[in-house]
């Protein structure tokens, strides 16, 4: 027996374990494997090899129902359908079945999940911006939550490193609030976007830049360039946008150090109180329901903010009665997302003889212009927002109000492009509030007997005040641009819908008020790293994935350094 157990333990022992294979997990796998560590990547969903994207080349007429969601499919993805786009047959297979993967809501929270190798790196919006110096200082200056234990300068070289590998196209602008990076050539703006950009710059002094996006404008690191199909969410056979499947996991596999195990739910961390360290993880095989233990010197939790926090909360022991590393009581708290779906659109009478070729998988970006200095200080709210949007010609799906309009002329009109329309919306920062939280629900169990997650999270005064300005400033910009039929909107949605969950195991300087240290290590068990959205101490207003990449690469470098020094 002892021998068998020994053999099993050896077989199940690695230098490093990475939980999750999305943006953060893929980066951890690549970095740790390239640094020579035998690395086990555990993914709860099925395997997806690069290229295994069944709908990538389908046309609308090749979907039953032309890519609309039928009632039978909807019944299984009620919550995933809250985005309005994810559950179309072109992408529904990348999102979880809500019946099999339930969660609860004290207050509505839209939790969008992709359980498969690559995770949401296959589905992300690909907008890639650096946090700025203010973002890392704001909590301290304003007395909000706790101070970040790092500053922009700590992360800048790792942004460089992540961008060089991932391939981010964009335009340098020299703005302190949106630091430039290592960019591939930018995509171009179309004629109405350029018009709005110039007018806004002249009249309001605000900057518009092309979206900084993880789509390749030139071949890069063995991956093909963007074909301008704008069907990224289906998976890209050209590898033209950054995903774990196309980029980091192949790099990890090429080292010979990678073991990837799909269908593996990490249920909890194993803890050795004598060593004061985690020793491994307990896994449930989703297909056989077998429980297996794997061991390693370092463990990277990269399962997404909510899932990594779930694992920590579910790993209670005598030492950690309230969840692994939860001496501060902050684990599961400070849940953030970006608030969005507020902005405006307008119509232009110009450029009627102009059009574009291709479907650019990117839009424009208007960097934050509020609360940057004394001059831009707002009295009703802290922090700020950026705008994302685009101009395009409306097509046959444009609404036609007059019901008398049908017949031969109606048809001909819809064949031709409609007027140019510019539409944009704001993405706003959300403050970290202790009372915005997720917690374990032991009354509702999943198919594998695990507790589930309950959310209790809402926007508060700062976000709601900011939204008023987000809408008003959008109208102001379109008026400056001289557009017509300006239509503001504020479709306030519940937290979660932006799919930028963050903050539930925050970094900080003090173990009494934070879960992780400056290197993303659990204060109380430094061989456990959390480098996904859970680690975020505040959330800026920019899309976060690039920051997870940089933080993960930095943490991996630190982990391997500490292992070499025998500190881990």
């Amino acid at each position: 027996m002892a021998n068998l157990q020994g053999a099993g333990t050896r077989q199940n022992t690695f230098d490093a374990i990475v939980v999750g294979s999305g943006i953060s997990g893929g980066w951890a796998a690549k970095e740790l494997c390239e640094k020579g560590l035998k690395t086990l990547v555990l993914e709860r969903g099925r395997d997806v090899k690069h290229g295994d994207y069944p709908t990538a080349m389908k046309e609308s007429w090749e979907f039953a129902g032309r890519n609309k969601v039928n009632q039978a499919a909807l019944a299984r993805q009620q919550k995933q359908n809250r985005t309005g786009y994810t559950t179309h047959p072109a992408s529904a297979h990348w999102f979880v079945d809500d019946v099999d993967n339930p969660y609860s809501e004290d207050k509505r929270f839209d939790w969008m999940r992709g359980y498969h190798v690559g995770g949401r790196s296959l589905l992300w919006g690909r907008q890639s911006y650096r946090f700025n110096e203010l973002d890392f200082e704001a909590n301290l200056k304003e007395g909000v939550a706790v101070d970040w234990p790092i500053r922009y300068a700590d992360l800048a070289p790792w942004y460089d490193y992540a961008e060089r590998f991932a391939g981010i196209s964009g335009q340098k602008e020299g703005l302190a609030q949106l630091p430039d990076g290592q960019f591939l050539p930018p995509m171009e703006m179309n004629c109405l976007e350029l018009h709005v950009k110039r007018r806004m710059q002249e009249k309001l002094g605000r900057v518009m830049t092309i979206g900084r996006v993880a789509n390749l404008t030139v071949p890069h690191n063995g991956r093909g360039s963007c074909q301008y199909r704008n069907r990224c969410i289906r998976g890209c056979p050209y590898g033209a946008y950054f995903s774990s499947n196309a980029a980091t996991l192949p790099a990890a596999a090429a080292t010979g150090n990678l073991t990837l195990r799909p269908f593996s739910i990490v249920n909890q961390l194993l803890y050795d109180p004598a060593k004061g360290r985690a020793t491994g993880v307990r896994v449930i095989d989703t297909e056989t329901h077998e429980v297996i233990e794997f061991h390693a010197r370092v463990i990277f939790l990269c399962a997404s903010a909510v899932a990594s926090t779930f694992i920590l909360l579910n790993s209670s022991s005598t030492r950690f009665p309230n969840g692994f590393g939860n001496d501060s009581g902050e684990l599961g708290h400070n849940l953030m997302d970006h608030h969005f779906k507020v902005g405006a659109s307008g119509i232009s009478d110009d450029f009627n003889d102009r059009y574009y070729r291709g479907a650019r998988a990117n839009g424009i970006y208007i960097p934050r212009f509020r609360n940057l200095d004394a001059k831009t200080k707002q009295k009703d709210y802290l922090r700020g927002f950026g705008y994302q949007g685009s101009a395009s010609r409306t097509d046959w799906a444009r609404p036609v109000k007059e019901l008398s309009h049908f017949g031969a002329k109606f048809k001909a009109d819809l064949v031709a492009p409609g007027p140019w329309r510019f539409g944009f919306g704001a993405w706003g920062e959300c403050l970290p509030y202790h009372e915005n939280r997720m917690y374990l629900n032991h009354n509702l169990r999943d198919r594998w007997g695990q507790p589930t997650v309950t959310f209790d999270c809402e926007w508060k005064e700062n976000e709601l005040n900011m939204r008023k300005d987000m809408k008003a400033a959008a109208v102001e910009i379109l008026e400056a641009a001289g557009l017509k039929e300006i239509t503001p909107f504020d479709d306030v949605s519940a937290p979660g819908l932006c799919i930028h969950e963050m903050g539930t195991a925050r970094m900080g300087r003090d173990p009494k008020t934070s879960v992780l240290n400056a290197w993303n290590q659990v204060h109380a068990s430094p061989n456990v790293f959390v480098t996904d959205g859970a680690c975020m101490t505040s959330n800026s207003c920019v899309n976060p994935s690039l920051t997870y990449m940089a933080l993960t690469a930095r943490a991996c470098d630190h982990a391997v350094g500490e292992m070499k020094k025998l500190n881990l």
Binding site: G51, E59, M187, Q227, P237, Y355, Y356, A359, K411, V415
Partner: protein
């Protein structure tokens, strides 16, 4: 930059060519398994053959109505591209219970109004008579017109031959003369 036009008459050929183009740009061939996987994924989804959910009378009324909304001209009409079958599928499997009720009631309404105003079945009216009746049940007509437009413009014949079809543009030209694409929308 790849600029070769994609032939519009063969899905398979255009995709092979598209993949080959991408391979050229990479400077290496895509692995055969990827090519095979992408091509295999092309087996068309079972196209709705015709009436499955509406009854025969409803289907006839709907067929006549959608052809008035999108009649055959120098380009195909709704009947030419299978719009009635699409509407039938939407009715049976995609609309909510409320929308189904609205739809079924609306079909009845235009049949009733055809008899009331013109003393004939809707399908027996001439174009002017049908146009007179259509649109009188406003919520129904808005739904029917939206379904007809969607079914028409997402159909293969329209996507390939009426709109401007280029499934793998391979490039982004931000500002071109509209005349370059014959004053037509891109196929989505």
């Amino acid at each position: 930059m790849p600029t070769a036009p994609v032939p519009a008459d063969s899905t398979l050929l255009s995709r092979r060519e598209a993949l080959a183009r991408a391979a050229l740009m990479l400077g290496a061939a895509l692995s055969p398994s990827i090519v095979a996987g992408v091509l295999r994924a092309q087996a068309p989804a079972a196209a709705p053959a015709g009436r499955r959910h509406l009854d025969a009378s409803q289907f006839q009324t709907v067929s006549a109505a959608v052809e008035r909304i999108l009649p055959r001209t120098e380009t195909p009409g709704a009947l030419d591209v299978g719009v009635p079958a699409f509407v039938d599928l939407m009715y049976g499997e995609f609309l909510t219970a409320d929308e189904r009720f609205l739809f079924a009631t609306g079909v009845k309404d235009i049949e009733a109004m055809a008899r009331e105003r013109h003393a004939r079945a809707f399908t027996a009216l001439d174009a002017a008579g049908q146009d007179d009746v259509l649109g009188r049940d406003k919520p129904f007509f808005a739904l029917l017109r939206e379904l007809a437009v969607t079914g028409y413009f997402t159909s293969e014949p329209v996507g390939r031959n009426v709109l401007h079809y280029d499934p793998v543009p391979g490039r982004w030209d931000a500002c071109i003369p509209l005349a370059d694409v014959g004053n037509r929308n891109w196929t989505r």
